[in-house]
Symmetry: C2
Subunit: 456 residues, 2 copies
């Protein structure tokens, strides 16, 4: 579309159209309160009857708001939406997010077409209808879910686009749990005006975004090809997860957003040829987003696996096989040199081939010396560390000690630590220092694949 | 082997051979303390110098212990182990677990063969060497890891066998986090005498075990075929996860436990023909163990997916496609009947085809009525419930209300809830009532596949 989306993502003023004076659980009221209390945009409520809400003036029309309005969040009955859009255009609003449902997904194609035609003719950017809209801290948050039920997001460099509000919120929760920070999150709903491609183009220019994750159900008309072209021209990695891959999934998608899921084989072929990365599971999606947000622009080929358990080393070796990522043999001389560096009690029982198995008797110093040793070589450009926090020799300092090495040598490190509350103290020692931690060996392997830039 | 393992898994008396009088961090001392404080077996310490430890008499030899000894846990230098085994046999000990390393994995094949020959000749059951041994609450726990670093296991009906101690502990942690209870856990190490097959045969007779999970690296000689024959003859489901599937993994395995990983293609073909279920990832392994522990012996074919998010429904439909599990269309009459049962505010926006999408406006009552409705039909024998705890209409009572339906109708239900601390209150409402909860849509799909008895 080439529309300017800045006023949608970074509004200085916004109007919430459709707040209720009687029902505090109305979605518009949830949005009104969230933005007034937690976002920077000055927020004005609109209801045709005017009045007062929580001690604030409610305006009878957008035209009465005393300042120019950057963004209108529209949550009124579907039939009234076209008229509201026209008013927004008339009074110079910068863009709109339509939260309301009741359009194509309910058989009202005409109503949606009317919105589209009006918006396109007037170069007026619109997200939705039938969506959660935009979360773009600290500016705006139109998700009509109470903050108490969600977890507080961290600011960061990952942005998400999703056709499904439910999937979007789930992924935000999962990324936040992994310590990943979010820049923007967009639920695009029925895509009457703006779609994935438009948002992708905007995010490509967004300074706060380094990595983009997208949940796709289907494309409209010929936008699939355009989407891939756009993903290809991006300066930032794009990770795609798709549903509607099978006849069953396609049927589910079409009853959901009334979009055509398209042929998955074709989709895969197109994605395979592009620079975009397909995640085939939610776990992969989260792993890819996490590691790329930590190491944007890094590329690796030769990995050293360091572990305290032979079983873990074997599982990781299996996972990396056939990916194009090498697990080079360690030269004899280097094995001898490393052996001299580790503690005496593991010297004769550890295995210094790759995977390096320091055994369950290893302590902090052995992991630190090994990571440092391989970071210093020219044949290893990434370390995969499989750490078991229940081993007696591992202290809670290990995260910061090893993170320091990553900063010094500027080579990426990926860590595996099983995830239970008790081990948060180890996990945070890494994640708090910008090192990605996976909670399964496969998750850790997926992270290495993603920074290797391998098509997966 | 046909040996009697009862005294290893349920000892009334045990001797810890090799406790140190000076080093409290010695593995034997960790085991001695754990068992004295937390297990039911009467525990005696042995050290050639005799003496006293923590106010308790330490015996100079197993022959001095004043009661018959069921189990000897041996943690002395490798060279001394054959002599200790001979003493155990001489003084009528019921079985031994050899914790010590320094055998085949360190090139000392002869030492290991000596143990094997002695044990086999005398029909003396031995686990190890080079292992963590056995955790069999409330009787015995020979894992030399401090309890403070592990999470407290729940008693339950899942038993695990593992060639790798590290993988075993990880899986115990992951299962416990999912609320799954453990009966026995066995780290078999070098398998000098008893191997997977022997333990499997024992667990088949163990009344406390309903489901068996096994981590395999490789089999000795012709035990692979025997293993599969045994798995096939079991009355209980057997879930296998294997490493050493690729040349890289195989190399890692052989440097780890000196066992031959075997050809993975052959392994897969053999497993595919057997009744055992292969898990191809840790996540699958945990999902399979969890769901089968909740619904032992249940088999399902026709699943209804109930969700509040179309995207989740589509992902689950994709996952179940091509598995042999049906997602039947809901007859028109039933759609109308269900529509009349749900709340008015979702009646016109919900979708009553399968997947049933109750939308983000659904409340507890809508989920309860829908689950009840489909449990009452004859064409649905399993419900997959995709629940989003951040939706305003869902209360913390939903778990117990829906669990009640599972008890009444005796049909299995699998739930998806994203996992963060905040949602534990929802998750526990199900898991505390014996309903398995997955934390990814794929995890939930895997659970349905496992109870469907489909080969995966």
């Amino acid at each position: 579309m080439g529309m300017n989306l800045t006023k949608i993502f970074k509004p200085q003023t916004m109007a919430i159209i459709g707040v209720s004076l009687s029902n505090p659980f109305n979605p518009a009221n949830v949005i009104y309160n969230k933005n007034r209390h937690h976002c920077t945009a000055e927020t004005y409520g609109v209801n045709p009857r005017g009045g007062e809400l929580y001690g604030q003036k409610i305006y009878a029309s957008i035209s009465e708001i005393p300042v120019p309005v950057d963004l209108a969040v529209i949550s009124v009955k579907a039939d009234f939406v076209p008229q509201v859009i026209k008013e927004c255009i008339k009074f110079g609003v910068g863009g709109a997010i339509i939260i309301s449902g009741g359009f194509t997904e309910s058989g009202k194609q005409d109503l949606e077409k009317e919105i589209r035609d009006t918006a396109v003719k007037n170069d007026f950017p619109v997200i939705g209808p039938n969506c959660l809209g935009v979360m773009s801290y600290p500016h705006v948050d139109t998700f009509f879910l109470s903050r108490e039920r969600l977890i507080a997001l961290n600011p960061g460099n990952v942005s998400l686009i999703s056709q499904s509000g439910g999937i979007l919120v789930d992924q935000l929760i999962k990324l936040t749990q992994e310590g990943v920070g979010i820049a923007r999150a967009v639920s695009i709903g029925n895509k009457a005006v703006l779609d994935e491609v438009d948002i992708l183009e905007y995010l490509n220019t967004d300074r706060d975004t380094d990595v983009i994750g997208i949940y796709v159900e289907g494309f409209k008309e010929d936008r699939g090809r355009k989407f891939i072209e756009t993903a290809d021209s991006m300066k930032k990695p794009v990770i795609i997860i798709k549903s509607g891959k099978t006849p069953g999934g396609t049927r589910a998608v079409s009853s959901h957003t009334a979009s055509i899921a398209g042929d998955y084989t074709t989709f895969c072929q197109v994605v395979a040829k592009s620079r975009a990365i397909e995640a085939t599971s939610e776990n992969e999606f989260v792993s890819f987003c996490e590691v790329l947000s930590n190491y944007p622009g890094k590329r690796v080929t030769n990995t050293c696996i360091i572990t305290a358990s032979g079983g873990h080393g074997a599982m990781a070796s299996d996972g990396l096989y056939d990916t194009g990522i090498m697990i080079p043999e360690i030269p004899e001389g280097d094995r001898t040199r490393l052996k001299a560096l580790v503690s005496e009690n593991i010297r004769d029982i550890a295995s210094f081939s790759n995977p390096v198995d320091l055994t369950g008797s290893a302590g902090d110093i052995d992991f630190v010396e090994s990571v440092k040793f391989f970071f210093s070589t020219d044949y290893i450009d990434c370390v995969l560390l499989l750490l078991l926090p229940y081993l007696p020799g591992i202290s809670t300092d290990i995260g910061s000690r090893i993170s320091e090495l990553v900063r010094t040598f500027k080579k990426p490190l990926v860590v595996y630590i099983p995830h239970v509350d008790k081990y948060d103290i180890f996990i945070e020692g890494f994640e708090g220092n910008g090192i990605p931690v996976a909670h399964s060996v496969e998750g850790a392997v997926n992270m290495v694949k993603a920074i290797a830039g391998e098509k997966i």
